[in-house]
């Protein structure tokens, strides 16, 4: 396992229409860290995520993914190193059946035969889906939670060292959300989770990076950042619910708080 899977220095990115998506991004992520990436809509989270596996090449600055710099020759190795789970599972489940979708990644890595079957089965088991039942099912007929799980299985089957999630709990019902959070705590890989779900960020991640208008405005321990109400409000965020209302009964609410 590489000790410094992500190293970004002075990264900038401007969209073709001239909008500055990212400016002066500096970040270093250590192995096995779980990092939350939070920011308002339009802060540049998704653009930054696309740099992690070389879909966007750095326009200026340096991006090192493990031992590889982001250049065309290294893209195959970078994409084996970093697994990116997109926000909408319909964009990610593009093969007709679940089995074909989960084996898509390993096939592109050159895995064949019994090895391939083992990897796909193992990945489906890891996300809690029975391979013999789900394998031949059409991707279109699954529920939202099942689709998300298949999308994650497809990435796990590639055995990456870093997992990057774009809004993993979006559109999930409370139980699926809880199952996903529990599942993410069991994974040993380095994780970068871009999310609006600040309660999940609090629960899962020790470190939080706050993006605002394309710049990193704060990078540090989750508890310190997510309890700083003034700072969060300045950047179009707010204190997570679990911290704002730590009491269960309304009768225990402090008198000074308004309804």
């Amino acid at each position: 396992m590489h000790h410094n899977p992500v190293f970004i220095e002075e990264l900038a990115y401007i969209y073709p229409d001239g909008t500055k998506a990212l400016q002066g991004i500096n970040l270093k992520i250590k192995a096995t860290e779980r990092v939350a990436l939070v920011g308002a809509n339009g802060s540049g989270k998704s653009t930054l995520l696309l740099h992690f596996n070389g879909i966007l090449a750095p326009q200026s600055g340096k991006v090192m993914i493990g031992p590889y710099s982001v250049i065309a020759e290294n893209l195959k190795d970078i994409r084996n190193f970093v697994g990116l789970v997109f926000q909408n599972p319909d964009d990610q489940l593009f093969m007709p059946t679940v089995w074909e979708d989960v084996s898509f990644g390993p096939i592109n890595q050159g895995v064949r035969g019994a090895d391939l079957t083992h990897r796909a089965c193992h990945a489906l088991d890891a996300v809690g889906l029975e391979p013999s039942y789900y394998g031949s099912r059409n991707s279109n007929n699954l529920s939202g939670g099942e689709k998300k799980r298949v999308a994650i299985a497809g990435i796990l089957a590639m055995k990456p060292q870093v997992l990057v999630f774009d809004e993993p709990t979006a559109q999930l019902d409370p139980r699926s959300r809880r199952q996903l959070i529990q599942f993410l705590t069991t994974l040993p890989q380095t994780q970068i989770i871009a999310t609006h779900d600040l309660d999940m960020a609090w629960e899962l991640c020790d470190r939080t990076i706050v993006l605002s208008r394309g710049q990193v405005v704060r990078d540090g321990p989750t508890e310190a950042i997510l309890t700083d109400g003034e700072f969060l409000e300045q950047h179009d965020l707010e204190i997570p619910l679990c911290y704002r209302r730590p009491y269960c009964l309304l009768a225990d609410a402090p008198h000074t708080q308004s309804a």
């Binding site: 994409r79 997109f86 898509f104």
Partner: protein, 257 residues
């Protein structure tokens, strides 16, 4: 709206154990292609040839044990679409005029042409629908690859099948949103709005295609085909293909001078 495509369970008879089902998918596709070509390339007016070929189609229906109701329903729907196009074959200039009205002339040649084309269309549709009923989509696509269809074309077809229902869902939700805001107030307005919806669907599809491409790149897609194993032709497969060719030539030979 999209008739039988809406059900999206095209291959209801694919779990059989008949001789037809035991053949490899590419053998089935090859036989059907050969039959369709032979049927379509037979010149107009050769009724005996088509009679022989229809016996072949009947035998295939018996062998493959397809659900007749579904088969005829699908062929009927498809024939309605084709019927509109075929009608043009009726108006030919050669032959004895049977009925005329201004520039439109129905001649004996026209009737022969219409009958031939209609029969060709019907037999071909029966063959193709039997194939689709008895073979699952992934087997069909695999068969196309085995028969040396360009891989990119097959990948495009697979994506189309995967995403057609997604697009139908998106269109349905757009339509529902429009209806909730009183779309049905006037027909002209409806046409304008539905036109805009289709345009919007095109743009959404394009952007979705971009996102799907990124997802494919993220999982190592490089544009080169990844075919796992190409099934070989067994003795039975080869025998059936040769039998089909002999049958087709026999049908044509009825009109050899």
């Amino acid at each position: 709206m999209l008739l039988h495509i809406g059900a999206f369970h095209l291959d209801i008879d694919s779990q059989g154990a008949t001789l037809w089902h035991k053949l490899a998918p590419h053998t089935r596709v090859l036989c059907v292609l050969l039959m369709v070509f032979a049927i379509a390339l037979t010149p107009n007016g050769r009724w005996w040839t088509w009679l022989v070929y229809s016996v072949g189609v009947l035998l295939l229906i018996l062998f493959s044990r397809v659900t007749l109701a579904v088969l005829f329903q699908r062929v009927a729907v498809e024939f309605v679409f084709i019927g509109v196009v075929i009608l043009g074959a009726l108006f030919q200039n050669q032959g004895d005029v049977l009925w005329s009205w201004g520039y439109l002339r129905i001649t004996s040649e026209g009737l022969t042409a219409l009958g031939s084309v209609a029969l060709k269309a019907f037999l071909s549709l029966m063959m193709v629908n039997i194939l689709v009923l008895t073979t699952s989509v992934s087997h069909l696509l695999q068969a196309l690859i085995t028969l040396k269809t360009p891989w990119l074309l097959v990948a495009i077809m697979a994506s189309m099948i995967r995403y057609l229902s997604v697009l139908v869902d998106e269109f349905t939700s757009m339509r529902r949103a429009a209806l909730s805001r009183n779309l049905m107030s006037s027909p002209g307005w409806q046409r304008l709005v539905v036109g805009n919806m289709i345009g919007s669907l095109f743009i959404r599809t394009y952007e979705r295609g971009d996102r799907i491409y990124h997802a494919m790149l993220s999982r190592g897609y490089t544009g080169t085909p990844t075919v796992l194993k190409v099934p070989k032709m067994t003795k039975v497969d080869k025998f059936i293909v040769i039998l089909t060719v002999i049958f087709l030539v026999f049908g044509q030979s009825l009109y050899f001078p």
